[in-house]
């Protein structure tokens, strides 16, 4: 539909939140160039705008200075060819946001639906709560193919979040519900204040002082969950054909009944 190519030098960071497929559909190039960005500049000051075939809005970025790509999108598809700045896919409720490069902090924050894929690595607070909100991601799927920073899945409420690489400190803190799968290794203090969510791991974390050790048990739900995650991630979960996992129940500091599952 539209290709927005970032001009090389930007005076300061750009908030591209307004430029979602539904808002651009039907506009002429001149109309798009004249759109105001939240930060005061016009689209034409920041991007070279061109038409393209198909229904995808493409951002060609140079650096992580373009924030809020896909913010609030409810439908359609955005493809970022290059890195995305902070808050990519914030508050998105539907559609697909595919970031071919890396994503900055706060990607998918407050997201309630849709698919967010980051082919590279992603920053801190991916899938966390909007400021002042009681809960984080409340729907849809976030797939980070690389590693992800601290507070991955903070206060998650519903949905699926996957990091195929490592995840930083305080992963899944305060997660209320939903499924967070990290293939790689975790930083310190995962799952603190976990309420009812699942943190699914392939490598045991260093310590889980506020969890009760349930030992290795058969988990019927894995028969559904693992194939589903495989399909979402386009990859195979580590061999887990007997659907057993080491289950840790908690967090007992908040009367939590969530779980950290380490695949056996």
């Amino acid at each position: 539909m539209i290709v927005l190519t970032q001009k090389l030098t930007l005076p300061h960071r750009i908030d591209a939140g307004a430029l979602v497929p539904a808002a651009l559909a039907g506009l002429s190039l001149a109309q798009i160039e004249a759109l105001s960005l939240k930060t005061g500049l016009k689209v034409g000051d920041v991007f070279t705008v061109a038409k393209s075939d198909g229904d995808v809005v493409v951002f060609r970025t140079q650096d992580q200075a373009v924030d809020c790509i896909g913010e609030g999108m409810g439908e359609g598809e955005i493809r970022v060819e290059g890195p995305a700045g902070r808050y990519a896919g914030r508050s998105m409720s539907g559609g697909t946001l595919h970031i071919v490069g890396d994503a900055g902090d706060g990607a998918g924050q407050g997201k309630s639906g849709g698919l967010l894929v980051v082919a590279g690595k992603a920053g801190d607070f991916v899938g966390s709560a909007l400021p002042g909100r009681t809960s984080g991601v409340s729907g849809g799927v976030i797939l980070i193919k690389g590693s992800v920073g601290q507070r991955f899945g903070d206060r998650m409420r519903k949905g699926v979040m996957i990091a195929l690489g490592d995840a930083g400190d305080f992963c899944a803190a305060r997660a209320v519900a939903g499924t967070i799968w990290v293939r790689g290794r975790l930083g310190q203090a995962p799952a603190q204040g976990l309420k009812r969510a699942t943190l699914l791991l392939e490598h045991a974390p260093d310590a889980l002082p506020t969890f009760q050790d349930c030992g290795v048990v058969e988990m019927p739900v894995l028969r559904l969950l693992l194939p589903s995650l495989d399909r979402l991630a386009g990859t195979r979960v580590a061999d887990s054909s007997d659907y057993r996992a080491h289950r840790h129940l908690g967090c007992i500091g908040v009367d939590g009944r969530g779980e950290v599952l380490v695949l056996a």
């Binding site: 519903k158 939903g178 559904l224």
Partner: protein, 302 residues
């Protein structure tokens, strides 16, 4: 009665089976082995022959291989029919809680994807006493209820839909033994038809009933017009050659399903020919005044 049609020496009455609207739900039960799925399934569908006394009618529709079930384990599909929404919901959760939740290694899933919703896990999750967890997988919610064995996995709800109950065939034979063996063959064939169950034991009922009774407390009573020991009565429907009558009752998710099932039954019975001891096929109705679904036997002939 107008002219019967005769196939392979068996005469088929020009009459119709009269059936009623019901609501029907399908659930899938899986287990570690087919044996344990069957244990659960038999208990779930036990004592579910007639809504009159059981509150619902249910049966095992099909045995499923691991390739056909949501969790890749062997299982069954089960259909349950009831006269209304509340009855269906009550029966589903009661039977789920007593026969599947309790049965080792089972899991329970929805077997329909459209229609109204009836709670499965969403009702019995409270058994988990606060330790139950829900998990949404591919857009569907499941409940994980801790049990002594491990965890019971159950779908949040199943769907249900309008259905048809009370399709039937009356098999009139020379004697009881011949009637029974002929019915076995018919049942085997009819049970291959999807979306239907034959809720009575072995699919066959001997005590076909009429509406009403001389005793005020009873809604239904012996179908005396088809009882061979009462052949001398004025209103008997039986000719002298009839030594025994059995009935096959069919519940299905739609008129077409029940029709297909009855058709398969007639085919199996007529394939056996007069030599099987069956000489006549009829059906039960109430004069067309009670049920909107009329399965005319002559339209179901092979």
């Amino acid at each position: 009665m107008s002219a019967p049609k005769i196939i392979n020496g068996i005469s088929i009455d020009e009459t119709f089976a009269e059936a009623f609207p019901m609501v029907g739900a399908r659930i899938i039960v899986t287990a570690r082995t087919e044996r344990w799925a069957m244990n659960a399934g038999l208990a779930f569908t036990g004592f579910a022959t007639s809504v009159i006394g059981c509150g619902c009618e249910a049966g095992i529709e099909k045995v499923l291989s691991g390739a056909e079930t949501p969790d890749g384990r062997p299982g069954l599909s089960i259909l349950l029919f009831a006269m209304g929404d509340d009855a269906l919901k009550g029966q589903l959760t009661n039977r789920l809680g007593q026969t599947i939740l309790t049965c080792p290694s089972t899991a329970c899933f929805s077997g329909l994807t459209t229609g109204k919703k009836a709670a499965l896990g969403n009702m019995i999750r409270y058994f988990g006493d606060g330790y139950q967890l829900s998990k949404v997988i591919d857009g569907q919610r499941f409940w994980r209820i801790p049990v002594m064995e491990g965890e019971f996995l159950v779908a949040d709800f199943t769907h249900y839909q309008p259905a048809v109950g009370g399709g039937n065939l009356l098999i009139l034979a020379d004697d009881g033994e011949k009637a029974l063996f002929a019915c076995e063959k018919a049942v085997d064939a009819m049970r291959k038809v999807p979306n239907c169950v034959l809720p009575f034991p072995g699919g066959v009922v001997r005590s076909g009933s009429k509406v009403g009774s001389k005793y005020k407390a009873l809604f239904a009573s012996s179908n005396d017009a088809f009882c061979p020991t009462l052949k001398g009565l004025a209103h008997t429907q039986l000719s002298p050659e009839t030594g025994s009558v059995l009935e096959i009752v069919i519940d299905g998710l739609s008129f077409e399903d029940v029709a297909a099932c009855m058709k398969e039954g007639i085919r199996a019975l007529t394939d056996g020919g007069r030599a099987s001891g069956v000489h006549r096929i009829s059906a039960g109705n109430y004069g067309g005044n009670l049920g909107p679904f009329h399965f005319k036997l002559h339209e179901l002939l092979p």
